[in-house]
Amino acid sequence: MDLAEILERCHAGDELAWEVLVRQYQSRICAIAYTYVGNAEEARDLAQEIFVRVYRRLNSCRDARGFQAWLVQIARNACIDHLRRRKARPPAQDIPVEKLHHLAAPGPDPEEEWVRDARKRLVFRALQTLSKINREIILLKDMQGLALEEIARTLDLPLGTVKSRTNRARIELAKAVNELSSGGAAAAS
């Protein structure tokens, strides 16, 4: 069954079609949420919230061709809202000063179940060192495979800027990976 038919059935309230849609896109949504928040448990809750938002607004997406970009846009907005809330929320308990830097730059958990692969962990750490805009371009272009026009619409940037930034962001990421891996090798030796 193609996406257009699944969407049509979802609009008609078909529960099974909705389940198929969730299963089809849940791994992408989880990856987006994880890239933004960098914590598995938080990303899982956030992914659930994203699907609730998607379900509420499903009627506003009638075109199957633009569905993925629409979905990514909703996921991105939800992630930004979540980060904003997290920033505004005071910590629940007193935190020692020496641990405060973990809050400022949350990194992946070394025992992370989702990211066991060492190479993926290295790339994820390198992604955290990029600027916000470069990280989002990598996420949307190379991880989610959106077209440049869709990225420009999502990020509200001119198409030319997105084009020129894409390669630059990749080079920045490759440099960060090389630096981190050489740093890691030096530390290991």
Binding site: H11, A12, G13, E15, W18, E19, V22, R23, Q26, S27, R28, C30, A31, Y34, T35, R44, A47, Q48, F51, V52, Y55, R56, L58, W114, V115, R119, K120, V123, F124, I138, D142, M143, Q144, G145, T166, N167, R168, R170, I171, L173, A174, K175, V177, N178
Partner: protein, 333 residues
């Protein structure tokens, strides 16, 4: 081939310009003739000895004094080189740069595995319970969507029925018949609810302005006590809350030392008077007090706005040099 022929072909052989049959003939002669082999080794040795290796940093020094470092230009093309989107000429130039630049070589190596890795990282499979949890979270919404879908289907059916009716030739006759029956039922029977309203409406339309005024005055006299009664009930319910809110607002403003407090006191007095007039059923006075309250509110607003300007003025008087400096800056700017 003898040794003289071989010597004539030596230059082309060294330059790799011989056609394959001649090349084979030369190599066969070399295999058989030790003298020519020695000559070839000597010549090769001499040529190699002429190629003195340049210092490693020479290229970098020349580039630094001419076009500048070329790594940034190469970096712009590395992604296209890796994805195979670079034109042949450009690719050749970038590869030539890569032969001598270890940093860019390392970037190319990383980019080759990084891009497929990123595509894989675009998906993170959650645990099996995740889908069930999402479906549970959207279940209440799903019922609403189902109701909405059912209503949409019903509406579509109704619209289709209406379009079919419109296309029937007898539709206009049927509508005229139904309208006549309705009018007779409403106005024409002894038990109809609106019997006699048509002549009364006609009398109102034909009435002179004086009699219309009398009719309005009568209606006002009749309505006024009822409105007063309604107002009293409303005041009993909300008056205490309203007064309390005004008190707290006034106290808050007074605590801040605003000049709007007197105007707000007037606003409160007008509001109280309008409430009392409403309770007495005096609509004209109620309206007059409400107008007064509006004026008091406007005064309060102006006072409130004037406070900010008033607060800035003493600061300027106290430190005139600040303004001078800012004027100077704005002129410089």
């Amino acid at each position: 081939m003898d040794c003289r022929d071989w010597e004539e072909l030596l230059d082309d052989y060294l330059a790799g310009k011989l056609p394959p049959p001649r090349q084979r003939a030369v190599e066969e002669h070399l295999a058989a003739c030790s003298g020519c082999r020695e000559l070839l080794d000597t010549v090769r040795g001499n040529l190699d000895s002429l190629q003195t290796p340049a210092p490693e940093d020479l290229t970098g020094a020349i580039l630094a004094r001419t076009s500048g470092p070329t790594c940034p230009r190469a970096e712009e093309r590395l992604c296209d080189l890796v994805s195979g989107a670079l034109a042949a000429g450009e690719a050749q130039l970038v590869r030539a740069h890569l032969e001598h630049c270890r940093r860019c070589q390392a970037l190319v190596v990383t980019l080759r595995w990084l891009l497929p890795e990123l595509r894989e990282m675009g998906e993170l499979q959650p645990d099996p319970a995740f889908t069930a949890e999402v479906l549970r979270a959207t279940a209440p919404l799903r019922r609403r969507v189902e109701r909405r879908a059912a209503w949409r289907a019903h509406r579509r059916g109704l619209a289709a029925w209406w379009r079919r009716q419109l296309l029937r030739p007898r539709f206009a006759l049927e509508v005229a018949y139904m309208a006549t029956v309705l009018i007779v039922a409403l106005f024409g029977t002894p038990i109809s609810p609106l019997q006699g309203s048509a002549p009364r409406a006609l009398a109102v339309v034909q009435a002179t302005p004086g009699s219309l005024g009398q009719a309005l005055a009568g209606a006002y006299a009749e309505l006024s006590p009822r409105i007063g009664e309604l107002g009293r009930d409303a005041w009993q319910v909300s008056g205490a809350h309203l007064t309390g809110a005004l008190h707290s607002l006034e106290a808050d403003l007074a605590a801040r030392g605003t000049r709007a407090a007197p105007a707000l006191q007037a606003l409160r007095a007008e509001a109280r008077s309008s409430g009392e007039a409403l309770l007495d059923g005096e609509l004209v006075q109620t309206i007059a007090h409400l107008r007064g309250a509006g004026r008091a509110l406007e005064r309060a607003w102006q006072d409130w706005r004037g406070r900010a300007a008033g607060a800035a003025a003493p600061a300027r008087e106290a430190n005139p040099r600040v303004d001078e400096n800012s004027d100077q800056e704005s002129r410089d700017g």
